[in-house]
Symmetry: C2
DNA sequence: AATTATTTTTAGTCAAGCCTAATTTTCACC
DNA sequence: GGTGAAAATTAGGCTTGACTAAAAATAATT
């Protein structure tokens, strides 16, 4: 059962979910920035959400979602992405126009509405941005991924995970400005050393060695 | 251009619109009852809306919408009825389950969303309850009506207006419990005097004389 | 016309969510 | 280890939209 939250509570839960990576916690300042509010307001809300059992708040060390909080967050993500799918697929919105409207629609509270919408859209696994849509139990669809080193020239792909991430590898990717969600096209591949040349949507071209390309798990799009 | 209002402001505008008949004004108590709040809260809001130029507030004598307020109200009615149509027609909701959800959806603010939804639904003129949907300019669709006296036996009809309503006629209708929106089926008609027998959905049977039946404008459903 | 009942308004309070300013804590760097 | 910058928290205040209780206005009844 999912408790009924206020608009502001939901916004905070979602922000924490978005900022919190595996293991890491979300910091007050980052949450405030995301919601266009101030740190002090966030502290208030974290206390409130901690009392409700949705968030674990370690003062000065950030916040993480509890199991209960994560379930709420996943249902919000589910609603957001289903509405985005509806707006693009059925109402003909552009993929770049839907965020703000979905932001409002996701707060409409009706289990039945969400289930019916999901069904109506054909239970889509991914939204128009390519992001996965959790099911009613909060499970994400399986990703079909392959290492960048095995991608063919010309394929349009997206980075969805890094295999066995060592500190030095993450540092290298960070240096190059390569992160999860990067969308690109394979421009060239050298058989000699397995190195790959990518052109991103936004313009910059990246060249990564074969050793690196083995670790980058891509998804076709 | 329609100003952006808070949820509570919109709720009040809509309540006033719903209570206010042609000419009449909406009373504080009735607004409070409809919104499940208290009269004093409504007084506060009426002052605020009057300052914004959406409502004309005659203290102790009720409130009426200004032209600006009425435009806002019509857009809310438009959104509400379009969403109800969507829920029933596309998501398979029952006509009796949609009100609460539509109540939330109608507050989502995006002109574009409403226009696209309208288009997607095929610009419907009436919602699943048979209520007319205003267009983007706030105009209601024309009703196709015919006097009850001309309705054939077996027709399923609804009372949408009373032609040339005299006080005595309205009194008679009130006595019989016949009002706008009444849904019924024509069970019999006497050629001798034009009198008509109706059976309503809710059970009771009404018999009205030919003289009365001339004044009752019905719509097929 | 006076009294009573009802409705409306006014006055003062409260919680939710935000804010600013001041204080406390943490962390990075010398 | 001490110091300063950044971040987080606390303290106190404001606005919105609700409330209760009391006062005022209107309507109804005798």
């Amino acid at each position: 059962m999912t408790t009924s939250l206020t608009r502001s509570e939901e916004d905070h839960i979602k922000a924490i979910h978005g900022l919190q990576q595996a293991g890491t916690s979300a910091f007050t300042k980052d949450i405030a920035d995301r919601l266009h509010t101030k740190a002090s307001s966030v502290t208030d809300m974290l206390k409130k959400l901690a009392e409700k059992g949705l968030v674990k708040h370690a003062p000065y060390y950030g916040a993480t979602l509890t199991t209960k909080g994560r379930r709420q967050a996943l249902m919000l993500v589910r609603k957001h992405r289903l509405w985005e799918t509806f707006l693009v697929q059925r109402l003909g919105f552009g993929w770049d126009e839907v965020h703000e409207v979905a932001e409002q629609l996701e707060h409409v509270g009706s289990e039945k509405l969400v289930e019916r919408l999901d069904e109506y859209l054909g239970r889509p696994a991914f939204d128009p941005h390519g992001d996965p849509i959790p099911d009613a139990q909060g499970r994400f669809p399986e990703r079909v991924t392959l290492p960048l080193v095995d991608c063919a020239v010309g394929e349009r792909i997206r980075l969805v995970a890094v295999k066995d991430p060592s500190d030095s590898l993450l540092h290298l990717l960070n240096e190059k400005g390569i992160g999860i969600g990067l969308e690109a096209e394979v421009r060239a591949r050298q058989d000699f050393d397995g190195s790959v040349e990518l052109r991103t949507k936004q313009g910059p071209v990246h060249v990564v060695s074969g050793r690196v390309a083995e670790h980058l798990l891509m998804e076709r799009r």
